[in-house]
């Protein structure tokens, strides 16, 4: 009975958000296009033969950046921006009355957006393969499953981090600037612009202790067939989720106590 209810809730949320997202197809297509930076980076790498020094062939590097593009497409999170707007406009109050944590709503929104985005990402990948036919490869099912899983875990980590930042809206009005600050190390250290293998030794010595390489570098290496430690990567991802989740719960309960609705 209870599981049926939860199932219905999830299903309804997803369906509502999916139809909502379908309305803005062009928006989402544009958003998919705005993620092409990895391809520009690939162009710099191969055009200047920079990959020779890190022992990755042209083909493997182009697969890596294509996978980095995919992983990024399916782990983009913007919950802090939605939540900030909703909390400034006072829309959070009705959500708080409902017997459902409002973050489930945002979570469903993200998943629905990913489903809508999928065909556009595929189209971009097709164009990529037309220009680079030698880099076509088919990963085996096990690897595919594991990389989908690790991409989802990466999405979860980023969703939790941003939700924690979003909860800061209860104390300060503009939490999104903190998110923009956090985005900078994510951009440069996650492997979106350059694979982590190419980083200098003094960075490599500590970077695997931070969550950043598990956001894009690890899933992308896994999917593209580059060398990576699968069990270590997955367990680090799960470890970070276990660390972040209680923090989110705590800040959420503290924040809702602190919350004063608009006009009160």
């Amino acid at each position: 009975m209870i599981s049926n209810l939860i199932y219905r809730k999830i299903f309804t949320l997803l369906r509502v958000q999916y139809s909502n997202m379908l309305e803005y197809r062009v928006e989402i297509a544009l958003w998919a296009i705005s993620g092409v930076i990895p391809f520009f980076m690939l162009n710099i790498w191969t055009n200047n033969n920079l990959n020779e020094s890190i022992n990755i062939s042209d083909v493997m590097l182009s697969r890596y950046f294509l996978c980095a593009f995919f992983v990024r497409q399916f782990s983009v999170v913007w919950v802090v921006f939605s939540f900030e707007e909703d909390s400034l406009m006072g829309k959070v109050s009705p959500y708080l009355i409902q017997p459902l944590n409002p973050f489930f709503r945002y979570f469903a929104q993200h998943l629905a957006e990913q489903i809508t985005r999928f065909p556009f990402a595929l189209i971009i990948a097709t164009f990529f393969f037309i220009y680079n036919p030698e880099s076509i490869w088919i990963p085996n099912l096990g690897i595919l499953f594991l990389s989908v899983l690790s991409t989802f875990l990466s999405f979860l980590i980023q969703f939790l981090v941003q939700s924690i930042v979003a909860c800061l809206c209860f104390w300060t009005e503009k939490a999104s600037s903190i998110e923009r600050l956090l985005f900078i190390p994510t951009l440069f250290l996650s492997g979106l612009l350059a694979p982590v293998v190419s980083f200098p030794a003094y960075v490599k010595s500590w970077i695997y202790l931070t969550p950043f390489p598990y956001l894009i570098d690890f899933p992308a290496n896994l999917l593209s067939g580059n060398e990576t430690n699968i069990s270590e990567g997955l367990s680090m991802q799960i470890l970070w989720i276990f660390l972040l989740f209680p923090l989110f719960k705590k800040i959420w309960t503290e924040g809702t106590k602190k919350y004063t609705a608009m006009g009160s």
């Binding site: 993620g35 162009n43 200047n48 920079l50 020094s53 009005e173 900078i184």
Partner: protein, 264 residues
């Protein structure tokens, strides 16, 4: 056009938007840290490219730093003026408040392009200038009048091109209503302005100089700094900047004919 009146109005704009932005003081501090980290990140990325190579696309590391400096200044200008104002157009059109702008006895393009200011961008501009001065020292550039005028001319042309690109996309909101993501696409394309044009493959170079003239924005001023620039390139940039400014103006007036306010 009454210049004195416009200057007076602009002083008022400055006053009101500074007053409202300075309410969020910690925000400005966070934005400053973000700008510094972002600069460190890009220099880190550059250093990865150069760690085993003496030059990329004919540019040495210390020369490529000039591009970073100019990019940082231009990005600061974008964050100070273009981003806060031109994203506002989208809001004006969605909510129908563009009516009030059009009714004012003042040029509408002037009003929507300069109304707001985000002071945290100033810090980024300063950061860019520091980096440029540092580059002038390590590249042993002679500061003479000729060099100063040429660099001033090329950088102002870049600002004009950048402004027009932003303004074009924001104006297209009149037809498409939601163009947040088109702005994101522009942002991600502008990202390549951080690197010398010659480091990209031929097709990308054509794309970014003929279709979207991002190449002109940073590469030509940097060439002026190094004394490598040919006279025809500077002339070309001046021409392109003029054409872009005039068409952006024409495009705005054209688009206004299609504007039907929110309730009609």
């Amino acid at each position: 056009m009454n210049l004195k009146k416009y200057l007076k109005v602009y002083a008022k704009f400055l006053h009101t938007s500074l007053a409202s932005e300075l309410e969020y003081k910690t925000n400005i501090l966070i934005d400053l840290i973000t700008a510094i980290l972002s600069l460190i990140g890009s220099i880190f990325l550059l250093s990865i490219f150069f760690q085993n190579n003496g030059s990329i696309g004919g540019w040495e590391f210390k020369e490529a730093l000039i591009i970073q400096g100019i990019y940082t200044i231009l990005n600061g200008i974008t964050n100070t003026w273009f981003n806060p104002n031109l994203t506002e157009i989208v809001k004006h059109i969605r909510e129908g408040t563009l009516d009030f702008v059009l009714l004012k006895p003042i040029d509408s393009q002037f009003f929507i392009s300069l109304k707001k200011i985000n002071p945290s961008g100033f810090l980024e501009i300063m950061l860019g200038f520091f980096l440029l001065f540092f580059c002038i020292r390590i590249n042993q550039i002679n500061l003479n009048l000729n060099f100063l005028t040429l660099s001033l001319i090329t950088i102002s042309c870049s600002i004009c091109i950048l402004y027009s690109l932003w303004f074009f996309i924001s104006t297209s909101t009149i037809w498409f209503v939601k163009t947040w993501n088109a702005i994101e696409v522009l942002r991600s394309f502008l990202y390549i302005g951080r690197f010398p044009l010659n480091s990209f493959s031929f097709s990308l170079r054509i794309f970014f100089s003929v279709i979207i003239p991002i190449a002109f924005i940073t590469t030509i001023p940097s060439e002026v700094f190094l004394g490598l620039s040919q006279f025809w390139k500077i002339l070309l940039e001046i021409n392109i900047a003029t054409i872009f400014l005039i068409t952006s103006r024409k495009f705005w007036l054209f688009a206004l004919k299609f504007y039907s306010s929110a309730s009609s």
